[in-house]
């Protein structure tokens, strides 16, 4: 068996929901069945076979070739298996992901990993706004798993995040970790204005004191936090800035906040 490869024939004129083209949803289906699945593109419903050239037959290992930012909900609800995107991906990558691995060689759109509960998403490029965040109407964003971003993240990274880890090797935009309920976000580069705004609990790890801090964060001073050595050890070997952290370098400056809500969150400033 070889990987099931969907090669985009032409860039679609409108957004395409390809969420059902994941290993869990396609389990047990033949290539002919898959080619006949109807997708929504605006008011039209072309079949998978009309949009993509299809090769291979292993539905547990899916490749989107010639990726495009109009392919949305890639890997949504997937429980296991692997999806690789060669190129960019649209919004809602890994929405409600339960398990398995999604890798994007380009960049991903907004709301990547929203509602994700398990598994792993690796983005070689950048992610759009509200990665790991809650979509409008949802009470919480990411609820488990690992989101790895090699590039930069947009605004409101991890908005209403409940559990899981987001590691950004580049920079993050404004309101990083806003309304965070729990979980861990680490940013190796710079963060924009007001990280942790209305944050209830959870951990925001940044490098260098943010230029614009929410007034609701209070300085608790530099401390050695033992849990960081376990955290760093669990990241050992990951691609990007966090895979080679010194597990003994656990001293950080701790800010607690946002005191305008429960104030049990923390902003940890490294180095």
């Amino acid at each position: 068996m070889s990987a099931l490869v969907f090669t985009l024939r032409n860039a679609p004129t409108q957004r395409v929901d390809v969420g059902m083209l994941n290993p869990t949803a396609l389990a047990g289906q033949s290539v002919a069945d898959i080619a006949a699945i109807r997708l929504s593109v605006g008011r039209t419903t072309p079949s998978v076979g009309e949009l993509f050239d299809i090769a291979g037959d292993d539905v547990g290992d899916i490749v989107f070739r010639a990726g495009c930012d109009r392919l949305e909900r890639i890997g949504a609800g997937m429980k296991s298996g692997r999806i690789s995107v060669e190129g960019d991906a649209g919004a809602y990558v890994g929405q409600g992901l339960l398990g398995g691995v999604i890798t994007i060689s380009g960049s991903a759109g907004a709301f990547c990993a929203s509602g994700m509960k398990g598994g792993r998403i690796e983005i070689a490029g950048n992610v759009g706004d509200a990665a790991g965040g809650a979509i409008p109407g949802d009470m919480k964003g990411m609820a488990g798993g690992l989101l790895l971003v090699a590039g930069n993240a947009g605004e409101r990274l991890g908005d209403r995040m409940r559990r899981g880890q987001i590691l950004v090797s580049g920079n993050a935009g404004d309101f990083c970790g806003t309304r965070m309920i729990a979980g861990t976000i680490a940013v190796a580069g710079s963060v924009g204005a007001y990280p942790g705004y209305l944050m209830k609990r959870g951990t925001l790890i940044v490098t260098g004191t943010p230029a614009q801090l929410v007034p609701g964060f209070v300085d608790c001073g530099p401390h050695r936090l033992g849990f960081l050595s376990l955290l760093y050890a669990s990241w050992k070997g990951l691609p990007g800035a966090f895979g080679a952290l010194d597990t003994g370098a656990c001293t950080v400056r701790r800010y607690m906040g946002d005191m305008s809500v429960s104030g049990r969150g923390e902003l940890l400033v490294r180095g």
């Binding site: 401390h223 033992g226 849990f227 050595s229 376990l230 669990s234 003994g248 049990r264």
Partner: protein, 298 residues
Amino acid sequence: MIINGVAIDDTFAEAFGMRGTRLIITAHNETWALNSANALTGFATSVIGCGAEAGIERLLAPPETPDGRPGVSVLLFAMSSKELIKQVERRVGQCVLTSPTSAVFAGLDEGDPVPLGKTLRYFGDGFQTSKQIAGKRYWRVPVMDGEFLVQDTARMVRAVGGGNFLVLADSQVQALEACEAAIVEMRKLPDVAMPFPGGVVRSGSKVGSKYKALSASTNDAFCPTLRGATKSELDERIGAVLEIVIDGLTDASVKKAMEVGMRAVCGIGAAGGIRRLSAGNYGGKLGQFQYHLREILS
């Protein structure tokens, strides 16, 4: 059977099913990890009076511990799951949480749950926070020297308690030195703890007593000073008897520890004043496990 002049009695040690767990205590340095571990395993010689039996399994180098600091592996045993849970909570709460720079982790990955940080976290008075790292939950409890890091749940397994052997020697000093040598070798083994002070016990007991309030009393048959006055197991050459009690996470680990310990004693042999090896049992009626000395040493 005689090994190096030491007669091996045709008898067996009788041991019981217990519940056991392993905890990993770490600290800023080995001294403070040991301070904490010694407190936790203190007053844990016998379930009869202590509720638990515990001992230090071994020291752990920084690369072997979850947080990369010097550590100590300790084993705790109790007669029931409920009692073990109670003992772990009390002992970790009073001896590890209180100890500067300490952290404590589960030392077993499989088995029934034993609440660890799950209950101790309330000391944090609402300031405690949890973290899930690599599929395991930890609690960070703020304390006056920083944070007490404790894993949410430890694990307990069905274990064995009460493996033992008796060292019968010409003199008290010779018996003690032989036991010391045995303990040195036995402490190199995994999954076992020798819970008595220094691993050695002198007050072996028999079941029952002339006093109604006592369920156990001195093992007069092995008391040298009573040789002429009781139905003694000792001949005129024996001046002292000491016992080594072994608790282990598995049947095989207890058996192995007995073998290693007894061989160390036999290595000293009759030239060192060691005359016999025997074992404590209750006629095979009470314990689930029997360790026949000659079978182990054959």
